[in-house]
Symmetry: C2
Subunit: 391 residues, 2 copies
């Protein structure tokens, strides 16, 4: 079949704050074909900047937009998805945003091919069985230990087997403050659920402080300590690993290319590598990191802080690897993120999340939600409209 | 003084082709202050995608646009330029395009502070003397050896002491073809001028072929062989270095972050690292690579394929390091690139290019050129205009 239309669709909440909450807006991508099938994907990226990569005028042979690369192309098989990924990234190789922006298109193409072939995406990737995953509720720390306690109690009452607390006040005062926050999270969760801590770059490049915090957090049984450093602090991650911190270290959500992910793995010495299929160029690239992590003996985890469409996309990439058992699972998203693909990847009675055998991503998009939160975009250059959102 | 306005200005030629010619359009950035001073910078990046990073609506605390980060800020000293760089990149840390887009703003801020303090930028960076550089005409290979010969003869007649031929037909057929192109370039240049070859990713990840071509090109006295591999082929660059190719290897123009440049230096084993200040986040980051290259004993070279504004910006970053002697110097740009900042960084009677002691970047922008090639942009979201180009 032929690709006939690529529609990047900007959705957002009426009010947006500076909170580290990625569910306040999103860029959906819909791809349509001449056979009437459509596929959907979602980027975890600036909607407007990414949308510009779909429609920007050509600058030369290395700055050609995504629509130009895809419309009119043949899409029938997984190899077509990979071929188009290579083509679009080659054509857009001097567009820095290309990986973030293309992620939604790549995911939509996998969805499309899966629907066309009647197969779930994880099988198209070579998987034979989709294993259930342990979802961890991903939430922000409350502003104080007391608030954090309440958030943790709510999560506990929702029956989560694991929860990750991140960003907000952590690292803003001293060691006692940090410990009080982590202690409150553990207390609220009770003794059974796994506790994960996301430091949100709080310690910059300070290896000593991270070793100290790891030691102090360890009694609260922390499964991992995430992103203690700035995203580009690969040498510091490497040094930390050599000095054997008291809790395992996780990072990688900012990786926008396979090469960046490989750096985290090869030089950063991580125990967990966290990849966002909505940033790294889609399922095609995420799958390569899954394979690399498996070969290196470290654990792959998704990074997801968008709708269930993104949860499903993320999960297809590693569903077949039984020992990659964690699934990041936004625990308190905006109404936009909570309704866009509701009913997909719900937790089962055992608290785990499993893929179904539905074709493609197995996701149903709520078009009422799309209409409700749509932020139509129009871009004119030299008086000519080069982009206008679909109705 | 306070920043009062940030204007990204899209300029382009009436016709744009897929040729690897970066001078067909550009994104200028003008920054104005309450003291009436203004600074100018230029990005080597997709104009529309980069412009979107100046005005995109906030998504959360890690996606805040460049204007929002800068307007109203104090700018008096080099430390302010560095502080604002850190602020804008922190605020835009989940905008992948941020480094490309911010480059023009960073360059404009250095220009502004230099004008305000009455100092050329290279002195603000700690330089005591600006050494003359050997400009190499940077041109594309002709489509055939015969055409390449004519291009080389033209360059030779223009008195260039060095010339780089790149992209186009190289690597498209076989070894004999590649050698015929390089031989024609050498023949046209005569025996005196230095010859540099830019393979433009022609050999993918194929280390054996690059070793072969280096051996075959070596008799034509090639100063360096540039970008034989894809930009992310760092392991292949490393392997190539360990196997001692017959000509020195250069790469790095795609580095969009300090970390990426460090990877090229530390793992790629390059002889020359090529940095575009208009992509890597401006002069602030380019200067850090200059210092790193100096410490590592490899040669820093600018990558520049835009107007003389970009040539001057590039040069200020490394003018004070005497043994970094080459200057990439677009040899056949569009009328847009050739008139935008004409009269800046012209070659002297000795064929070399020197900075003057003029304050800031020492560049005068041709406003007639800006008006002639302006491509006004207007962006509406949900019926509200969020960006419109200045008149």
């Amino acid at each position: 079949m032929k690709i006939t239309a690529i529609d990047p669709i900007y959705l957002r909440m009426p009010e947006i704050t500076t909170a580290a909450d990625g569910t306040q807006d999103t860029l959906l991508v819909r791809i349509r074909t001449d056979r009437g099938l459509e596929g959907w994907g979602e980027c975890d990226a600036s909607p407007l900047v990414s949308l510009a990569a779909y429609c920007c005028p050509m600058s030369h042979g290395n700055i050609i937009n995504i629509r130009e690369s895809l419309v009119g192309e043949t899409i029938d098989t997984p190899d077509d998805v990979r071929r188009l990924h290579a083509k679009a990234l080659r054509n857009g190789s001097d567009i820095q945003q290309i990986d973030h922006a293309y992620s939604g298109a790549d995911i939509a193409l996998w969805d499309l091919v899966g629907k066309s072939l009647g197969q779930p995406v994880y099988r198209l990737l070579g998987g034979r069985k989709a294993y259930p995953k342990k979802p961890y509720a991903s939430v922000l720390f409350g502003d104080t230990p007391e608030e954090t306690l309440r958030v943790a109690q709510r999560i506990q009452s929702q029956g989560f087997l694991a929860a990750k607390f991140g960003w907000g006040p952590l690292g803003k005062k001293d060691a006692e403050w940090d410990v009080a926050l982590v202690r409150a999270a553990r207390e609220g969760l009770g003794s059974k659920a796994e506790l994960l801590v996301d430091a949100g770059w709080a310690y910059g490049r300070d290896v000593e402080t991270v070793l100290d915090r790891a030691r102090r957090f360890s009694p609260y049984r922390v499964t991992w300590l995430e992103e203690p450093f700035f995203p580009d602090a690969i040498p510091e991650y490497g040094e930390l690993a050599r000095r054997k911190p008291a809790v395992p270290i996780a990072a990688g959500e900012n990786a926008a290319t396979l090469h960046a992910a490989e750096n985290y793995i090869d030089q950063g010495g991580l125990s967990f590598v966290q990849i966002d299929a909505g940033r790294i160029g889609g399922i095609t690239v995420a799958r390569k990191v899954v394979e690399k992590a498996a070969a290196k003996g470290i654990t792959y985890v998704n990074h997801t802080f968008k709708s269930r469409l993104s949860v499903a996309s993320a999960l297809h990439a590693f569903a077949d690897v039984e020992h990659f058992k964690y699934l990041e699972y936004p625990g308190s998203g905006s109404p936009l993120a909570e309704t866009l693909a509701a009913g997909t990847c719900d937790r089962g009675p055992d608290g785990l999340v499993s893929l179904t055998e539905a074709p493609g991503l197995g996701v149903k998009i709520n078009l009422d939600c799309v209409r409700k939160y749509a932020a139509p975009v129009r871009i004119d250059i030299s008086g000519k409209t080069i982009f206008t959102s679909i109705e």
